[in-house]
Symmetry: D2
Subunit: 135 residues, 4 copies
Amino acid sequence: MFEHCDKLRVRYRDVDYLGVVYYSRYLEYFEVARDEMMRAIGIPYSEFEQKGYAMPVVEVHCIYQKSAHFDEVLTIISRITEMPLARLKIGYTIFRENEDEILVSGYTVHAFINKDGRPVRPPNFFRQLLQAKLA
Amino acid sequence: MFEHCDKLRVRYRDVDYLGVVYYSRYLEYFEVARDEMMRAIGIPYSEFEQKGYAMPVVEVHCIYQKSAHFDEVLTIISRITEMPLARLKIGYTIFRENEDEILVSGYTVHAFINKDGRPVRPPNFFRQLLQAKLA
Amino acid sequence: MFEHCDKLRVRYRDVDYLGVVYYSRYLEYFEVARDEMMRAIGIPYSEFEQKGYAMPVVEVHCIYQKSAHFDEVLTIISRITEMPLARLKIGYTIFRENEDEILVSGYTVHAFINKDGRPVRPPNFFRQLLQAKLA
Amino acid sequence: MFEHCDKLRVRYRDVDYLGVVYYSRYLEYFEVARDEMMRAIGIPYSEFEQKGYAMPVVEVHCIYQKSAHFDEVLTIISRITEMPLARLKIGYTIFRENEDEILVSGYTVHAFINKDGRPVRPPNFFRQLLQAKLA
């Protein structure tokens, strides 16, 4: 299993009328965590795209247990547990900084496509980098 | 079962670098469909809040099968199949207008809270309005 | 002068902690109005792009006089007063539906670029369509 | 004059079809810079609100000179040049990290309101903290 940890602060734009983070914003937080995880694996998503690939989301699931509020600092753990054969599953867990109660948890599933938009297997350079982290 | 149908146009702000709707935007589309469904049931969400209740999202699931593009008009079907005992599940299916291939499908699950933020059962006025639609 | 009128409803995602539309959202409303104005002129922005042009925003100005709230229906008037020599200026005024007090007013200024990203003069097909409206 | 410097990374959600940051997103970047500037002044905006005040935006102006792209790190300089009598003006300049060409510049003007939503003069605790920075 490979785990990566990020911090981000809840901004005013993220918060709704109830003073809590609007539900779709967590998917943006997942994206930030995913981006930083890719960078930690050794292939920033911007380079991944420059090599002619993309990793579109094909499924997302999210459980909202507790609310995050304006100006709170959140910890996001993202994790990959398995080498992808065709599709990559990434899990996420969000806490308030220095607390251990889960606020939000979820996962995304990603396909791999080439620059023509055709589904492909995960490219070898990505598999090798990920293998080194999963080992 | 109660079904409600809405149309909306994909705007430039919704579209990412690949020219397709960014994944969290569908949750905003779900919200628009949910709002209009509540209005069709007879209780716009703004009135629901004025009566001292809210319906926070506790779970969301979304399957992305095909992409929607800038300026396309989408049809969103939202549906409630069961009277909620404690939590309300709403399903969504998104098509391109006048086409029958599913682009995105998903659901949200909602709790009911009162103005103190405490979980409550679905308020009677809501149950009665919904019952009339489900019958 | 060419004026175009649109309506849109304030959605939950647009509203901040104070219950009013978050300030950057009005730029998204301007974009919706601009899109529909282009369609009314006879060249939807999606076609404009397919012809190999884009109209990036180079300046925006916005005055916030009164707040718009969740679920209110807004009227947006967009207007072009002059044939663009190099840059196009579009003005916007936002009201609550059926009221005449201005909530927000502003303008955007747009350059024209071709598919290589080079600045160009407004394409002739656009000038001719706009001329017919301004006359 | 008081200046504050922040860094932020352009995320995928911020980028439009042309691969550049969507124009309303810069207002969100301004908000992040403003938040951090308030923290540097000694009164995080969340505390400012807890004391019963808010600083709604009444005007925004923005000049877009060059585009920022996905995954670039931006430097945002925010600045206050004058003690506010009634309204506070904050200027912003955005660069690519370690470059000195201006990408975007702009300003916001803020009113001060109390918890009843009435316009008030800038509260004394804020004036004193700001005075110490401007001196």
